[in-house]
Every structure is written in C-alpha cells, then in structure tokens.
Amino acid sequence: MANDTVQDVRLKYALYGALFGLAFPIIATLFDAYMRDLGLGMAGLIEAQKTQPLHWIIDTAPIFLGIFAGLAGIKQQEVIEVNEGLERKVEQRTEMLHEQNEELRTIQDELEDSLTRISQSINYAQRIQDAIVSNTNELKSAFPDSFVMFRPRDVVSGDFPWYLKKGDYHYLAAVDCTGHGVPGPFMSLIGYFLLNRIVKENGFSNTDEILTELHKEVVKVLNQSDDSDVHDGMDLALCRIDTVKKEVMYSGAGNPVYHVNEAEITEYKADYWSIGGTQYRKRGNYGSHSFSYKDGDMISMFSDGITDQFSADGEKKFGFKRIRTHLENNSSGSMADMKTSFESEMNQWMGDHKQLDDMLMMGVRL
C-alpha cells in the first residue's frame, strides 16, 4: 500500500509538471503564428515551428518541467514517508506504554497482595507471641509494682520477657535474640521453651548454670556444629529473686542488670559470651553475682535495642547513662509511671529516626 502511494505521488507530480510545461510551446506557437500572420490552422502552426528554432527549445519545456516536478514529487514522497514512519512509531510507542502500564499494574497488584498476606501472616504471628509475652502477667501478680516495655521493631519481636516461679524462687529474664522481623521470633520461641525446660523440668536453679545449659541446648537444637552457618542465639540478663532471703542472683550473657535502692544505682555486668552459636573458639564460663535487697528496691533489665537506638539526628546513641539517670530520677514513683515516662523519653529521643532493633525493658519493685 505504501509503495502504491509512492508511485502515485511521483507520477502525479511529473504528469502535472509535463502538462504545465505543455502550455509553453502551445501558447508560444499560437502567439508566433498569430504575430507572423501564418494563420492559426494546423498548417500555420507547423510553419511557425519550422521557421523559428526558438520553438524547439520551448518545446522541451514539458520534458524539463515534468522531470523537475517529478523530482519535487520524490522529495514530497520522502516527507510523506518520514511522517508515516513517525506516526507508526508513535502508535507503537503508545501501544508499548500501554502494555508496560498493564504490566506495572499487575506487579503493583501482586505486591499489594503479597504485602497484605505478609501483614496478615505477621499479625497472626503477633497474636501467638502476645499470648506468650502475656505470661508475664504472672510477674504482675508476684510483683504488682512492675512493668514490661515491649516494643518490637516489626510487629513481632526477637526480644521477649520471661518469668517463671519455682519454689521460693522467681526467675526473671530480659532476652534479646539475634534477628528481628521473622527470624527473631523463631529464636525467641526456642529460648522461651528452653528456659522453661531447664528451670522447670531439668531442675537447674543457679543463674550461671542456667545460662550454661541454655547455651548447650541452643547449640543442640540448632545443630550448631563447627561448620554450621547458623550462628544465632541470644543475649540475656537473668535474675533469680528469693523473696524469703531477699536476695537476687544474677548472670548475664551480654546484658547487665541495674539494682536501684534509695541511695544509689548499682550495675552488675554480664559476661561477654552470647548464648548459642559456635562462634567463639574459646568460650569463657558464665559467672554470677548475688546481692541482697530491701523492700522497695528495684531492678531493671533491658535489651540493646534501647541502648543502641540513635537519636533523631542520627548522631548519638541512647546509651546506658540515660537509662541509669532515668531509673534514679523515677524510682520513687510507681513502675507504671516509670514505664510511661521512659516511653515518652525514648519517643522524644528517637524523633523521626527509625527504630533499628527490637526494644525490651523490664522494671520490678522488690
């Protein structure tokens, strides 16, 4: 079809050129024959042609004009072709864009769909984790003036508070598992059930022994042989409270405990070794600290999600000092108030900076 048009245009231009050119010899011959009185009949016209050589030049006008017009036709044809090409391209592009749009819309739909499913799945998981975390309600009944600040980074958490009463002992831990998001909660379940088993069924009662056992069990559960790629585990601060003797025994893997009495705040430092993993070729043993307390003293434990949290401007970390100062300044009020004021201090500290890790803080009035 395009080719037909090509010939059409060129031919048309050449034909019109030739026809226009034909007017020159006709008019020139008629005019010459009339001027020289040769008569306007065929004989006169032929006579005029024969006797005036200029006519021969004029007679070539249709040929030249035909050629020139034909050339113009070719140019015109090129313009037409370019235009048509452009139009086709625009059409193709439009069609392509349309297809891409469709594709994007499909991807967007799929993403939204995945996001909804993932959110639903995580919210479901949250209900399970909440059920476990709410076991710390028992902590509330044993120590009515206490608090747990539990702030997952992504709905569910690798941090978890743990409480268990056995005999005269109350066991209390703030546990921080490696990972957050999805892997963190997996680890937290392992930690939760292992701690229960070690204390409840296996009968370990000294905090250092519990940590040693916990490490062994995590390594076993996760098959952490030397060449394992699973280095996961947990840091924790673990306290055993004896309300009869008014004594606390503490051991820590990474995380300390603070003891606040009316006069001062004392920090008991943890051992370096995290629970789980075969990451340390030489591992130290876990030690323990014991201290007595008076009624009205408090203890507090927390995960590094709190100390490591960056300030709003991203320049500074919350650190230990702010926790100590907060505990000192607020220990005379109720634990519920301490939680509220601590939360608002943290909110102010973070501002718009994103939360980098799960957060957990516990406070117990003894």
Partner: protein, 125 residues
C-alpha cells in the same frame, strides 16, 4: 597472595577494604544487614584463604558505629582470625576507633580487648 577484598558501604552494611598490598584491613560504617550470613560469609571465606597465606604484618582497623547482635558474632570472628596469624608467628594488631561520646562502642572495644589475645589499640576520634 590473595587479592584485596573491597566492598562499598551500603545503608546497612559497612565498608570493607582488606588491602593485601599494605596489610591494613579496614571495616567502617554500620552493620545491620537483615541477613548477616549473606554479607559476612564471603568475608569469612576470604579471610580463611588469607590466613593460609598471610603477609608478615596485618592490622585490622575497626571504625564501626553500630552493629546489630547478629553482626557482632561475625565481627568477633573476623578479629579472632588474627589470633591464628599470631599463632603462626606473624604480626597482627587491632585498632578500635570509637567516637569520644560513644560509650557503647568504647565498651564493646574494651570487652574485645580483654578477650582477644591480639595487640589491641583503642583510639578515640
């Protein structure tokens, strides 16, 4: 000799510049990858090869201002590999940079200094 290992820093992983022409291995930035193994495994493998055929003297310069608990374990391993070098009769050293006002990174450095049997230098910046 193993070829130098260079990884540019990202939003959640540190810059790695283990230069085998100078023996100075730098780690700097923040380390909080969602999947720590994915980031650190190639580094561990590289180090394993390096320890087999090391330079006479190796210095690790750490200037990390945040690392999550999963990263801690791998960073420990990286530093720990210097003990192998010392056992093999080579020179090795760790320089731990921390911001003057960052008690956390300072404390982590001090802990590592007490655990690792590698010459350890703390430098406030």
């Amino acid at each position: 000799m193993v070829e130098s290992l260079r990884l540019a820093a990202t939003e959640d992983t540190p810059m790695i510049d283990f230069d085998t022409s100078t023996g100075i291995f730098k780690v700097s930035g923040r380390s909080l990858p969602e999947d720590a193994l994915e980031f650190f495994k190639p580094i561990e493998e590289w180090l394993r090869a390096y320890v087999e055929n090391p330079l006479e003297s190796t210095t690790i310069e750490m200037s990390v201002d945040y690392f999550n608990s999963a990263s801690t374990r791998y960073i420990f391993n990286i530093l720990m590999s210097l003990e192998d070098l010392i056992d093999a009769g080579k020179e090795a050293k760790i320089i731990w940079y921390y911001r003057k006002d960052d008690e956390l990174i300072q404390a982590k450095g001090e802990e590592l200094e007490s655990i690792l049997e590698v010459p350890f230098e703390m430098k406030a910046v």
